[in-house]
Symmetry: C2
Subunit: 493 residues, 2 copies
């Protein structure tokens, strides 16, 4: 009976989450500006209604008394308990205080970022950090793990700072040496074949049709999803109705297309979750690391590979004026490596260094080893050490570039790079059962790849821990090894 | 304190209604087909959550104990009580049974309508009628009014069948005689100036821009609303974010444009409701009769008037290939009168006869004077009497044309025609304070008209009864007199 009660309860929460997800999409894609105030009010109220319902004491009783009748139900109850503890170990009053501090700091950050006025941001950010430390302490008690781990656990259940640090340290050592080698190799290639400039104007409609064609080829199901435009691209909605967005520039077509294919990876994961469990926590995607692994698998392992462009360029030529382009011309663009200040503009070679820097700083911040006022100096030093760039007197292109910390999302950054490593590990493992995977990509055949991902990742949802899922899919725990082989092969030739 | 409790309570209900409204819009405008099943589930669950919250016994206690501190609060409590009684006088179990019967009958109707298989629909429709009679009896007890009146009250609080009957009888007598006279006049006009055929193809984009231009001119606020495409045009969303839709055909432009301007009237009413009270029942639009009066005011009193086309044709010519069209050519189209079978295709002269026929039948149905099986014969007889058309052996174009009865919406039909009469009465009254209203329309100046409607209708929301609102706005209760003058002036010349 209690399992049935829980099932009905989670269907109610699912309906509220459905509304929240779709209102979020509508806000970004459709809503006129004047609708914003009332929408924000409605969203806050829906969140409060959902929180009250989800954290009601009776739910804890159902979870304690539940007698699951098979392995799947056992895993579902375990995951539901994990979510319930995470939800109830923080008081509503604290959550409210924290949400207000975050919203206020995020708004301040939006105002100050253009001028890079770091000192004016400090007091507000200190407040957010202070509350994050308190949250980490409370979660640490409830979950029985170290404070920073308890924050990571919100985004990537089971990931531990010590493990991440080991992987990141090896990766950092490799990349600091590898980036200059990749740049040298790029210079040699460019000397023989200069980067082809974009000359045509690429209409939004044509780019959209190309994007939709390639999404369909890779396996996105437009019966259960669509592609729209928003200022910040995202993959939202619900698994039965995945709403992806992008934005277009008309002077080139690759940044939008790569963005679309990246989000397609997220969308495929959502569409591949087990339909009967969507209202249970166990039926959701496992965490941000695996989610990012799916988007980066499609973007980095498929869409930026030379094999893909042998298939995709003829299709692109149907939509865009690219008559004199070769696959090699496109590949030069999508393999471009450059040291830069900005994480979101970074390529797959330099990107992990941006993430590792943030991981090291936020870990020390939460552990109280450093303070907000120390960040710019540490940031500058690490940027010099890792990428040879100084952000001294330039906080705009330093610690003020990301929304994560003003928004209170400590523990999120590692998943970007853990996802990139996972994607490379998945690709390597896939070659065992699909030895001609590269040939399949070259021919535009994605059915077998999709089946592999569906069976080994998507359908598993959250019925396994991240680590167990990864071991069951790839035969080993996460390492940087496959990523390292991947970038050596791609960027040193 | 209880007023504050109620205020917070109604904000929660508002957030849920906001979600329901926007999910409804998204479903019609954006949702891919595969999202439908889960969406329907989420919508049903949200409705149940809202119903449980709205009908909680504590709300009744708050309403009983509330001590309003001003006239506005008194009216707000009165209206909230009315809504609470309406909500709680029917058990959830009955509502569930009724919703299931309606959905099943509506789905059956969709399947059977194309073939016009009335006998196959009868048992399902009988069930819906039986439940409507039971509902009417329960509401009649709780509200202290006649059963059919209690159903009308759901759509148009305060409207009474006896009053409607008096007005409709006079109107019917007039129109049965008037329609042939209007057709004669039309024939005489056409003999001198034939109806100009549409020749160009009108692109969707151009029609949309024209629609938006005219919506803006009339006063629709695109900062708080937008215009999209859906299969069935509607005006949805929330007052701070009004979502209007239309559909376009490319062989002519007037049916879509008139549809847009009709919905604009609904949209203006919503946008004009008092911002501080939107979460209270008293802050909502007064009822379907007044809502329809606003859409028909814009459509019939403004957009189909010759004066309007002197202003609008030059704008239309900027968007569409109408170089050789005169305002008079357009007016001939928008004043076209024709006896037909189908209500939704009827013009403003014949439309009320379709409504009166339905009113008379559904009233007798609810009162148990006739049965479902009697409908086709009665329908045919009334169509012959009122419009000179027979629907014998043609139920597809007779009682099977509308979704209202299969969907259980008994008591809704009268508001269409009551709205048309109200619009004419408003227009006549407006001429007292704005004697040059026709000139203003001719010049495309709508500010004074908007101010009048805002002050006399929109801002009043539901703080007055429909009758008090109408008397305060126009100086008298509803009569057919102004509508009769209006059609005589428009169609006999």
């Amino acid at each position: 009976m209690t399992f049935h009660d829980l099932d009905a309860h989670f269907r109610k929460l699912e309906a509220l989450s459905h509304a929240q997800a779709m209102l979020g999409v509508d806000e970004a894609v459709m809503m006129p500006e004047g609708g914003g105030e009332k929408r924000a009010e409605a969203m806050a109220t829906l969140a409060a209604i959902r929180h009250d319902m989800a954290s009601a004491p009776v739910v804890g009783e159902w979870l304690d008394r539940a007698t699951p009748s098979n392995d799947q139900q056992v895993a579902a109850i375990t995951e539901a308990k994990r979510e319930f503890v995470n939800l109830t170990c923080i008081s509503s009053a604290f959550v409210k205080e924290q949400v207000e501090a975050r919203i206020s700091c995020e708004q301040l950050w939006r105002r100050l970022r253009p001028s890079g006025d770091w000192p004016a941001l400090v007091p507000s950010l200190e407040r957010v950090v202070q509350l994050a430390r308190e949250e980490a302490a409370m979660r640490s008690d409830a979950l029985g793990m170290a404070p920073y781990d308890a924050l990571i656990d919100q985004y990537d259940p089971g990931s531990k700072s010590a493990t991440i640090e080991k992987i990141f340290t090896a990766l950092k050592l490799f990349l600091v040496d590898f980036v200059p080698r990749a740049l040298d190799a790029q210079n040699r290639r460019r000397a023989m074949r200069p980067l082809k400039p974009f000359q045509a104007t690429f209409s939004v409609d044509s780019q959209k049709r190309l994007g939709q064609d390639l999404m369909s080829s890779i396996g996105f199901d437009f019966h259960h999803g669509r592609l729209d435009v928003s200022h910040h691209p995202f993959c939202g909605g619900v698994p039965t109705d995945v709403r992806m967005t992008t934005r277009y520039r008309q002077d080139e077509f690759l940044s939008s297309l790569m963005g679309i294919l990246h989000e397609t990876g997220h969308g495929l994961y959502e569409q591949g979750l087990p339909k009967g469990w969507l209202h249970w926590a166990a039926g959701a995607a496992r965490g941000m690391m695996l989610h990012e692994s799916q988007s980066l698998f499609v973007e980095m392992q498929i869409a930026r590979s030379p094999a893909f462009w042998e298939f995709a360029l003829p299709i692109a030529k149907k939509h865009l004026a690219l008559d004199d382009w070769t696959a090699e011309d496109v590949v030069q663009h999508v393999h471009h490596v450059e040291r830069g200040f900005i994480r979101v503009e970074a390529d797959e070679v330099t990107y992990p260094l941006h993430v590792i820097l943030r991981f090291e700083i936020e870990r020390d911040l939460i552990e109280g080893k450093i303070e907000v006022r120390d960040i710019p100096e540490i940031w500058d030093q690490k940027m010099q050490d890792y990428l040879g760039l100084s952000t001294q007197d330039n906080p705009k292109d330093g610690p003020m570039q990301d929304v994560h910390w003003p928004g209170g999302a400590f523990g999120y950054f590692p998943s970007y790079t853990l996802g990139a490593l996972t994607a490379a590990q998945i690709r390597k493992t896939m070659e065992i059962s699909l030895p001609d995977v590269e040939e399949q990509i070259r021919r535009g055949e994605f059915a077998a790849i999709k089946t592999w991902l569906s069976q080994n990742i998507w359908a598993k949802a959250s019925f396994l821990s991240t680590e167990d899922l990864l071991v069951s899919a790839t035969g080993s725990t996460l390492s940087a090894e496959h990523y390292i082989q991947h970038v050596e092969r791609r960027y040193l030739s």
